[in-house]
Structures are given as C-alpha cells and as structure tokens.
Amino acid sequence: MAPLQKAQIVKMIKTSKEHPITLAIGDGANDVSMILEAHVGIGIMGKEGRQAVRNSDYAIPKFKHLKKMLLVHGHYYYIRISELVQYFFYKNVCFIFPQFLYQFFCGFSQQPLYDTAYLTLYNISFTSLPILVYSLMEQHINMDILKKDPSLYKDIAKNSLLRWPTFIYWTVLGVYDAIVMFFGAYFLFDNTTFTSNGQMFGNWTFGTLVFTVLVFTVTFKLVLDTHYWTWINHFVIWGSLVFFVLFSLLWGGIIWPFLNYQRMYYVFMQMLSSGPAWLSIILLITAGLLPDVVKKVIWRAMWPTITERIQDADKLYKGQLSEFTPLASLQAPPKAGGRRRGSENQRNPRRSAAFSKKLMFTRWQRRPDYCTFTPLLRLVDGHSPHHNAYGGAEPETCV
C-alpha cells in the first residue's frame, strides 16, 4: 500500500462516529504517513531503516513488545497520570478554599489565612514529592496479570478516569475537606482559649492549625490511594510530613533577621503546646478522610471493577497467582455467588478451598529479562512479597 492510503485509512477511523483514539504501528518508510496521522505512532526498529522510528512517538525493537507496551506501560501511565491530575486539583482545592472561607471573617480584606512561607512552600515542598513518586512508580496491578488479561484495559477505556463524574467527585471531596478543616478550627477557636494557662491564640495560630490539618489530610489521602509501596514511597511521604514539621519548628523558632515581620515567631510551638489543638488535628484529619474511605470500601464490596477484583485476588493469594491462573474465574459478574470472587476472607477456609479447585497455582520462576540495562528503579521493598515471588516483576522502565 502507498503511504498516503495508509494514512487515509487511519484518518477514516479517526473521523468515524466514535472518534476513537488510534494507534498505528509500522517499521518501514512507507509507514511514516500513517504513524504521523494516528494519535499514537509506534515505530519498529526494523530492517528497513530508522525512518519509522524517527517519526514515531514510541519506538520498540520488535513487534511483540507492543503487547507489554500497551497492556502494561500504557495502562500504568494512564492510571498514574489520571491520579496525578485529579490529586493536584484536589489538594489545591483543599488549600485555597479555607482561605476563601476566611474572607468572610476578616472583612473581605484579602487577609491570608496562612503565612507566606506556607503559601509558597505548600505546592513546592510539602505536597509535591509524594504525588511525583506515585506518578512515576505506581502499579495498581501486577505486570504479569496485566499482560495476560487484556480485558483489564476495559476499566480505563474511553478516558474513564478523567471524565466529569470522577472529577466532580474529587472536587466535592476537596470542598468537603476544606470545610471540615476550616470550620473545625473555627469552632475550636470560638471565642475561648484552649490553653491551660488561659492565654489566647491569634490569627496566625488559627491559620497554622488549618494548614497542619491540610498537609496531613492530603498526604494521607495519597497514602490511601497508593497500592504499590516501595521504600521511595515511604521515604517521600513520611519525609514530606517530617519536613513540614521540622520546617515549621525552624521557621518559628528563630527571629530571622531578613524578615521585617516576626508574626510566625513561636506560633507553631504554641499551637503544639495545647492539648485540644492536637485532639482537633487528629479529629479533623479523620473527619476529612472518613467519607472517601467509606465510599471506597462500600463500592469495592458492592460494585467492584475488574481491576479491584484482581487486586483483591492478588492480595489474597499473595503472589501465588501466576500466568496459568485462569482469570476468567476471577471476573464473575457482580450478581453471581460470592464464592467465585477473590475475597480477603481467610476466616472461611471452605470458600477458599472451593476457589482453589478452579485454579492452578504455579510457583513462579525467574523470568527472562527484557531490559537491556538495569533500570534505576529496580527496587523491591518488604511490603510487597508477592513481587518477590515473581522475580523479574519489579518496576521496569524499559521495554
């Protein structure tokens, strides 16, 4: 076929009724037009030279690598980027909405709720690394399961994670968290002291209390969303929180000579010296995260997606699931009896025994390595023993 004809076919599919996202793959110079025309163009480093590769978005050495690229890497990237986008909007709604609410109580004079250092560093230092590491490393389902079951792709088809309903959910959650944080602190401050020496706190203590609850709430939200824990995740998440506390202690602990105001001096320590402040921080974090946790658990029990069922099964069998496990048995329709679904119920050995009759388990051997170099992120932590069982199933950034 001529290059133009190939491109025209792709164009025809692109403009068809459903307006699908198209992918074109080729290895020769005559494939260049269609690679350029399609949304995603993949070039194979073939015998016919590097023309296709030069014009493509992604290049692979062999055609068979397409499978892993689509089913594993493409799937991961989508999950990661959709969470990144949603989480960024969410954490900034949580950040700014209390400032907006405060305007009703400061005469609409644009008085900031938080100190300028907090305003500056929130998105740079306190909440940036956790989501960055998530969006580089998250694996919601094991690679091998993704490879052998393409129907998992259905869960993310048609850009499902970035549609309006999901976005509205995240935004409503952000607004709810902001209201909880702000009014929790507001009623705590309500015209009374909450120190044991009778002294009153000021507006910077108020803002710092809201900010502390904010940083911890959004970080714990990410903790709840993370499935694949490595030592890097732990390091950046707990490290960000520790950094926030240390920074606040340092910022308020010294009279900094380059500042022409000292409004934050000792504010953080004074806040921490009050028992009710601690109690309200714990309460407000819990109240903020409560609806999301409840929604997740109930939705997972009542309307689990294929992805969630696989995740539960994977956790239940702790990595014993192998390439030979017929996953069809795990994808029973919702109304079917519970016995065919993977569940965490280890209290009922009879049910597990019934399950195991339908599955074969194999102990996994070390798999051949597709990588041509050792990936930087080949790190396994102790929290995911099932990845150890797979041998070569650590996060690979190469194909």
């Binding site: 008085q111 309500d190 910077w204 309460l283 029990a301 019934a354």
Partner: protein, 312 residues
Amino acid sequence: MLSAGVVIPGFFVIGLAFIGIGVGLLITSRSIQVLELDYTGTETNSPCYKCTTPPVQNNCVCKLNFTIDTLFKGPVFFYYSLTNYFQSQRKYGASKDYNQLSGDLTYFKSPASDCDPYQYANGKPIVPCGSLANSMFNDTFKLYQIINGQEKLVPFDGKGIAWWTDYNIKYRNPDYSPLKNAFNDTVKPVFWSKAAYELDTSDATNNGFVNQDFLVWMRRAALPNFRKLYRRITEGDYKDGLPVGNYSLEISYNYPVISFDGTKKATFSNVSWMGGQNEFLGIAYLVIGSMCVVMSIVMLIVYAKFRFPDDD
C-alpha cells in the same frame, strides 16, 4: 490497602476511642464555669448607659453589680470580649512596625510606611506607630466583693497574660535608661491617653513595649468575636476562687464600640487542661466516633451481604 478486613475493625476501634475521648472532653467542658457581663451600655437601664450618651465624658466610670451563687473555682481568669471587631482585617493588622517594637531606635525616627496613616503626627514620628497599636483597648476594671456593705478589692494579677515569647524575646524596649528619653522627639499614638513609657509607671518590667496589656492587644485575634485575657485572680483570699456573694465591677469606660455595632463584655472563666468552655470538641468527637461505629456496622452488613450471600 483498604481491605475490609482492616477497615471494618479499624473503624470500630477508632469510633470507640473517639467516643471515649468525646465523653471526656464534654465532661471537662461542662465543669467549667463562665460568667459573662455585657457592659456596652446600649440599653437605657444598663449602668454604663451614662457613658455612651452624649456628652461623652472622659474617664466615665460605671459599676456593674452581680452575684455569684456557687463558688467560682479558682484560679479565675478575667477576660474582656469584643464583638464585630475585625482585628483580622489585612491592612489594619499589618499596620505596625516590628523593628520599632523590638527596640530599634532608628525606626523611632522613621517608622515603616505600613503604619500609614498613623506614621507621623504633627510632623513627628509616632511610637509605636500603626493602627493596631493605636486602637489599643483602654478600659480598665476593678473588682470589689461587697461584704457587709463594704467594698473589698479583689486583687488582680497581671503577670503572664501574654505569650512568654512575646514578652521576653519578640518585643523589646529600647536600651535606654530612663526609658522616657528614648522617646524624645516622638509622639504617642493619637488615640492613647498615655505614652508608651507611661503604661505602667509602677513596674519597670511592665512598661513600654513589654507591657502585658499591650502585648495581649497586639496579638491579632483570628475572628471578629474574640476575647482577650485581662487579669487573673490567684492571690490572697481569692486563690481558691470567688466565694458566694455580691460583687461590683467598676469599669472605667473609655473604649468606644457603639459606632460600629460592637459590644463589650467582661467575662469570668476558669480554665482546665483543655482551656475554656468549648463544647465543640467533645461533641465533634462524639459525632465522628459514632459515625465511625455506624459506618463500620454498615460496611460489615454490606460486605457480608454482597460477598457471602449464602453459605454452602
């Protein structure tokens, strides 16, 4: 991570713990006594009405009589409350010069421009400059217990009402002796009746910028209805509290609030480990705790019903 096996018992335990904490907080809060006396003087039958009607006199003194029915346990904290007062307004709260207040004499001569319009008066720099200092609360209070028709003064303790760090580190008087000379060629704030070095002539450690009342005022309140600590009743016959009896609060009414629909109140309160009387935290803990318990039961039912419909 969010497996039901972890979440359901976790929620239940958290719920019970929160309910326990909530009950403890509510009990503590209920045991705190608060007595609030409004003395704005807008009603004609208020003892302070005479201080609000024109012609407004200076140093108008009004007396509020009240009785205490049960022992008001000590130590008793005495606050003044203001409503509809936006100390949190941005320009107002930023209108001060920290360098002046930390005793730097160069800023006595040229106050920061943030203090505008209370930066210079009659060509001379104002010390301390700015609206925040200028609007310092200047009502004073004396409390008497009426015993057999005689007034007995209840001693007030004005030490330690401001943050320790404000008093010792953040605010410093200029290094001058006598303090008055540091203020040469400056004027006092427009609304003040006494200059900064006359705030407490009897006690040099409470004079100038480290005056406790001044420090309490300079710590901006977060919300428009706030309370600030004035004195504590801790000494002498009253260290166990205010006994049952009749009392008379003598107020030197100087601070005008009626023009912006504000109110002034004098508040007596005792304080526990959790501070003043605030039922919010206890109630919130109870609510969240019970919701956690209810949610864990709901999740358990949903989980049992949809995961294990029938047993073999």
